[in-house]
Subunit: 185 residues, 2 copies
């Protein structure tokens, strides 16, 4: 009989099994995630996340890709047919710190009743437009505020936020930077 | 009479007017983009991009926020109810390099007939799981391949790709890193 231990909706037994498996077979930790994008018109384009590679094989579980409409608002010359690219970055960051917080809470047996985050980032669009070299095109700063309901002590919640900051793959990527290789087919 | 010049679907006259305006009034370049996220269950959460601040005011044009379902695939303990956070990062990056490429092409009068990109990034999930300190949680590398149909010379296309690399706000953010402030409300 299998008795599954679930905390915060996370199957903790399976999480612990995964960790033990990856200690024994580190090569299974290698994942490749993918996006393909097709420009539609002006500032409007569409991205899709198809299958990925992970745990030693091409994953076959995804029946159809996840699709994202991407555009700019009118003030940035688009028609707001989707969130804009820098908003997608914040959405990914919000999801990653949330999942990291929840997974580490589950692993430690800390029950979370509610978790909301609010993110805000500053960009000076003069950098994108090349108006001045003194302003970077990217975000100057991003702020992430956690709203947590839990019986756990505030110190424990602070510790989980630090884990989310350091162990979240999107947070680590954005805080520390990632080499990107560009090529023309 | 207004005659609008459009290249690649981008209103070039309006783009040039914007650049002149921002040279005269640099404070209008300051934007704040936002995301709020609510954890649902386990690895599943939902992000929304509500109104933003830009061009000197709170933008009021967006009738409802853009909504994003975020989850993990089963091999990462979720149910694939949406792309995962690191896939959102790639989607945002794909949209940003696409729009930057197209906008700079339009500004230079370069007509683009087709633009597709393919992105792939490597992550070792042992970093997220804290199994070893020798592996970072974030992407180790991201590759972006451009497929372009245009009558422009290949050297011009290569130049536009370099502009996309350097001027895209998401590319700049991810390549060079962004300070992120974390706080508990």
């Amino acid at each position: 009989m299998n008795v599954m231990t679930t905390v915060n909706g996370v199957a903790v037994d399976k999480l612990m099994e995964t960790i033990e498996l990856l200690k024994a077979r580190p090569e299974l930790g290698e994942f490749k995630f993918r996006t393909r994008n097709r420009w539609v018109d002006g500032t409007y384009n569409r991205a899709e996340n198809p299958a990925f590679y992970g745990a030693g094989a091409e994953d076959t579980g995804r029946q159809s890709p996840h699709v994202h409409d991407i555009d700019e608002p009118p003030v940035l010359l688009g028609e707001d047919r989707g969130a804009n690219p820098v908003e997608y970055l914040l959405a990914g960051l919000s999801g990653c710190v949330t999942t990291t917080f929840i997974a580490y809470a589950a692993a430690q047996g800390v029950k979370i009743d509610e978790l909301r985050t609010e993110l805000e980032g500053n960009i000076d669009v003069r950098g994108f437009l090349g108006i001045t070299g003194s302003v970077r095109p990217g975000y100057k700063e991003i702020r992430v505020k956690f709203h947590v309901k839990s019986d756990a002590p505030r110190e424990k919640i602070q510790e989980l936020i630090r884990l989310a900051e350091r162990r979240s793959p999107v947070s680590d990527s954005v805080r520390k930077g990632v080499p990107i290789q560009f090529a023309l087919a």
